[in-house]
């Protein structure tokens, strides 16, 4: 009973925040509301016993997306919003609201009437998990059963980085992106950036490492490592790397390249693309995941940083 009340309260809170995010007049409060929304959403995921998703949602869905959007809203403060689009007229607004309500209603009706017992692949996933040597079925789906989707999605990240970079001005090509900086050096943020990362990096590596058997994995661990790098750069302890740096490019592409390479080696070693050799599956998977974690840790800050805006130094 108490649990159910709490669930309903959580849902109500999430819906309120979402409503505020969409309906608020000013942009900045809407963004702040979205960040809170993302964090509460990960609690719903915990309640659904999807801890892996909760971790990802908190780190990427709420956290990094929040940083990105707050940064965008902050950069636009003071400059006029390009009013190229028209506000919809009032009747149109009502019509859209009605149609959206209808669509949501249809979705809700359908969700309630899904078949019982629900079809599931959980038993099959658990049956086959022994051959992968893993203990966490979500990791097994990501890296073994549906490895192809994951590999493709890693390539999506690289292409997104290329897309973001391509929005630089020609003069800035080869230069460095911008990360919001602390105002004063040697201030609180510097101290924070000196104290937190050692611990944060340990936690990131640990979350990646236990991901084989427990909730966690390359995405979640990589996201934490990425956050540490962002903090260090924000405090000004290291420079944002110029996009022409070879090591940066290798770090960004290493994940998909190693994944692809291991996949092709699978033809020879395990009789199929993206198949893992019998008995050696787990070491190979860990090997691939190391590079994936590295690439995620490099990619996410680059996506947050945006297009290079500083001309390369001669």
């Amino acid at each position: 009973m108490i649990v159910q009340t709490l669930d309903i309260g959580l849902a109500a809170l999430v819906l309120t925040l979402a409503g505020y995010t969409v309906l608020a007049r000013a942009t900045f409060p809407a963004v702040v509301s979205y960040v809170a929304y993302g964090l509460l959403l990960s609690l719903i995921w915990v309640r659904l016993f999807s801890v892996d998703v909760a971790l990802t949602e908190a780190a990427i869905g709420g956290g990094l997306t929040g940083v990105l959007l707050i940064g965008a809203a902050g950069k636009r403060r003071g400059t006029a919003v390009a009013a190229t689009e028209l506000d919809p007229t009032q009747p149109l607004r009502w019509a859209i609201m009605a149609l959206c309500a209808l669509a949501a209603l249809a979705l809700a009706t359908v969700v309630v009437s899904l078949p019982d017992p629900a079809p599931t692949l959980a038993p099959q996933a658990m049956e086959n998990i022994a051959t992968t040597g893993l203990g966490n079925p979500v990791t097994a789906v990501l890296i073994a059963y549906r490895a192809f989707d994951t590999m493709l999605e890693k390539c999506v990240l690289v292409i997104a980085v290329v897309g973001v970079w391509s929005l630089a001005c020609d003069r800035c090509w080869g230069g460095a992106p911008d990360v919001p900086r602390a105002v004063a050096r040697g201030g609180t943020l510097t101290f924070f950036a000196q104290v937190l990362p050692p611990l944060g990096i340990l936690i990131g590596i640990r979350i990646f490492w236990i991901g084989a058997d427990e909730p966690g994995g390359a995405f979640q661990g990589g996201a934490i490592l990425a956050a540490m790098w962002v903090i260090i750069m924000m405090a000004g302890l290291t420079d944002v790397p110029a996009i022409s740096k070879r090591w940066l490019r290798i770090a960004l592409a290493a994940g998909p390249i190693v994944f692809l390479g291991v996949g092709i080696l699978g033809f020879a070693a395990a009789g199929g693309f993206l198949a893992y050799p019998h008995g050696f599956a787990k070491p190979v998977i860990i090997f691939v995941e190391i590079f994936m974690t590295l690439s995620i840790a490099a990619t996410l800050p680059m996506l947050v940083g945006g297009a290079p805006i500083r001309a390369p130094r001669p």
Partner: protein, 97 residues
């Protein structure tokens, strides 16, 4: 599980929740940024601290208890930093609303 740690937990977590409630009220009702920050850091600090203390006896083993403490320390650290940054930014921009 004996009754004593349970009672201890209930009292500690309850006290923590009161701090959270007070902090939230302050965040919503206080007039300017600095006072709001003041209210918020109390919730972070004491509220979460009391909740963690309340949870400690319920932890399965020492490692889990240690993790709870680490969570508290990390929140302290980041809360303090963010509070400082917001305050600095407020002072710099001369905005108090």
């Amino acid at each position: 599980m004996s009754f004593a740690p349970n009672l201890f937990s209930i009292v500690a977590i309850g006290a923590g929740l009161i701090f959270f409630l007070a902090g939230t009220c302050g965040l919503l009702r206080f007039p300017d940024t600095l006072s709001r920050l003041h209210a918020l850091t109390k919730a972070d600090n004491l509220g979460l601290g009391l909740v963690v203390i309340g949870l400690l006896p319920l932890a399965d083993n020492v490692l889990a208890a240690l993790k709870l403490v680490v969570v508290w320390v990390l929140v302290q650290l980041s809360g303090a930093t963010v509070g400082q940054l917001i305050a600095q930014s407020t002072r710099r921009n001369g905005r108090t609303e």
